[in-house]
Symmetry: none
Subunit: 224 residues, 2 copies
Amino acid sequence: MTGVLVVDDDPYLLRALRITLRAHGYDVTVAEDGRAALLAAARTPPSLVILDLGLPDMDGVAVLATLRSWSQVPVLVLSARHGSADKVQALDAGADDYITKPFGLDELLARLRALRRRSLDDAEPTLVTTDAFTVDLGKRRVTRDGEDIRLTPTEWKMLEILVRNPEKLITQQQLLSEVWGPAYAKETNYLRVYMAQLRRKLEPDAGAPRHLLTEAGIGYRFMP
Amino acid sequence: MTGVLVVDDDPYLLRALRITLRAHGYDVTVAEDGRAALLAAARTPPSLVILDLGLPDMDGVAVLATLRSWSQVPVLVLSARHGSADKVQALDAGADDYITKPFGLDELLARLRALRRRSLDDAEPTLVTTDAFTVDLGKRRVTRDGEDIRLTPTEWKMLEILVRNPEKLITQQQLLSEVWGPAYAKETNYLRVYMAQLRRKLEPDAGAPRHLLTEAGIGYRFMP
DNA sequence: GCGGATCTTGATGAATCCTTGATGCCGCCC
DNA sequence: GGGCGGCATCAAGGATTCATCAAGATCCGC
């Protein structure tokens, strides 16, 4: 499902957008100020962001700049200002599109479609290599000795979390709640089963792992 | 040098744009009607296109659609019309941005920067070959053993997305929302039906696919 | 309208994946 | 040395997902 984060302080517009976007199949999250928007974007990264520049707590361009510091998500900016200086500022801060109020909902939907069309070919060239295997986070692919390794969805989720935090200790609870959900925080069994499978598929000697390490009683750690 | 093709029939605007864009480091080509624009774009493919919808010889949207049939170059549309129906039509025909006259030159420049930022990873091969079949993304054609393969519109859309992202895993949700729209993100049935058809038409052995691979529970992947 | 192509929808067996329990190993403390 | 807790491994079941087929429903050009 395509997730859209709508950031605006006008409750009426918010309501209209939520209804319209839901009716067109988007999964809508809303935020009424900049702080809430950044929190929401960090917690559940959306596929698209609609951002009003006139927010009560902080400048819209500042929100955009902060978001851009860690996310490449396409952003469509809303503004009541027609002045070209504002547009220039927003576009240069990293906005992908700019639309002035008032606007037609069909135009907004068309611009969203155009944005999403472009967002697919954002090749995220993050490649993590060890001397045994290579993980391509963008293409979602693992290779070993030139051969593709086939991972199940659960195996991949676990590996992705570990690989995105190299050398960092990930607790069992972190892994369980990220992969299976917070309700599974005590099912440490799952971790053993899947860690064993990952090692069998990736480690040269699954009995003596060198990259997927166990920290007894605490969690696991990935070493490049 | 970034090449910009400017298509407009107003000689004054053309002159102003040429001077301004050259001053900002762009390499400018101009065309005064649709036919000349398409010829120029075909002969020396530009990095960006600025297209006025009001042309003397043919409808601007038709020019855009024709251009889109073989090129993915970012297009910024100029129009004197403020109506949202026009915008929707242009954006759905493949425009990447839309700006109404009159406009500020600094806004135009900012939008051009935003467009160029998004299209950095060009180098788009229009011809993708495997040892079983060949896909010509520009001409929208698929050949196998020298024979043309007939694809339905839906089959083509699906294949195009996969082929434009070689080796990359495309999730079921990405495929569904690109081909059928975001509201269909749960109809994974469609994917199976059409993937089976694509394999029957393209794979030497549809039962053991080598180029259109299934990642169970996640999505599909194209391997050249 | 009519006919053909294309798109939906449902049903079936096969393949894959997740869960769960049992078993054995290792290190540690009593 | 024996008991214990945490870990690794294995295998089987049940659940989910996939491939395939075929029958309507719908769209489109003539």
